[in-house]
Chain length 107, copies 2
DNA sequence: TTGATACATTGACAACTATCTATATATGTG
DNA sequence: CACATATATAGATAGTTGTCAATGTATCAA
């Protein structure tokens, strides 16, 4: 199966700085230079992380003049969570089909 | 914030073999030797992966004689999805509080 | 055009990870 | 006890990843 692509996408969230970036973007788009002020990393490192987040489709970038505005992708986030749900799930009494399974928690 | 612990847990799902294991356990517990037959890896490598999955609380192990039976942890899975949801989320029109946000998809 | 700003790319390096072989431990069987 | 089976641990190694300094590219203003 195509586990490789899923692994690649999940890896987008396996870095402390990238988690911080996801939180930083939660209330709307920000440009790179603003993110840079919030994270104790250099500009090339931020560029590296933004590329990974965009490649995972969790984040989208919009270029405006010399600025890059980044924002959470609602579609990407939804697809991500759905994908995670295919692996982080179980068959408990409620059943997954009915939506009553404990795995529906935090959905 | 404690991103480190979250990163460690998310890393549990960033390996193709571990994703395959999560799927293999989805319909009930299996002992290590059965998993070993389904995955083209050596026994020490399986042991390594099971340790990581158990450390992440996505899987629990039960020792019975010389066998180790592994199964999905419903609580661990629920906590994992909830944790993922704190990072893979957005503020779109529906709003996160009401549960109508697009980020509720695949929950 | 010159200079400043925002961002991307390159190359190097340390840290981490998945994998294997070899070996150890534990359990059950004759 | 000796032996087989199931699993864990140790050590080695190749590949990956996050980071930085240095440099390149693009945009805008004076």
């Amino acid at each position: 199966m195509g586990f490789r692509e899923d692994v690649r996408k999940i890896k987008a969230l396996t870095d402390e700085n990238r988690l911080a970036i996801m939180l930083a973007l939660q209330h709307g788009e920000k440009c790179g230079c603003v993110l840079l002020e919030e994270l104790n990393i250099t500009q090339p490192t931020l560029s590296h992380h933004m590329r990974i987040l965009c490649d995972s489709d969790l984040v989208v970038g919009r270029k405006d003049g010399k600025w890059m505005y980044y924002s959470i992708s609602p579609e990407g986030v939804a697809a991500f969570r759905e994908m995670i749900g295919t692996y982080a799930r179980c068959d408990c009494e409620g059943g997954n089909e009915t939506g009553n399974c404990c795995c529906s928690v935090g959905a």
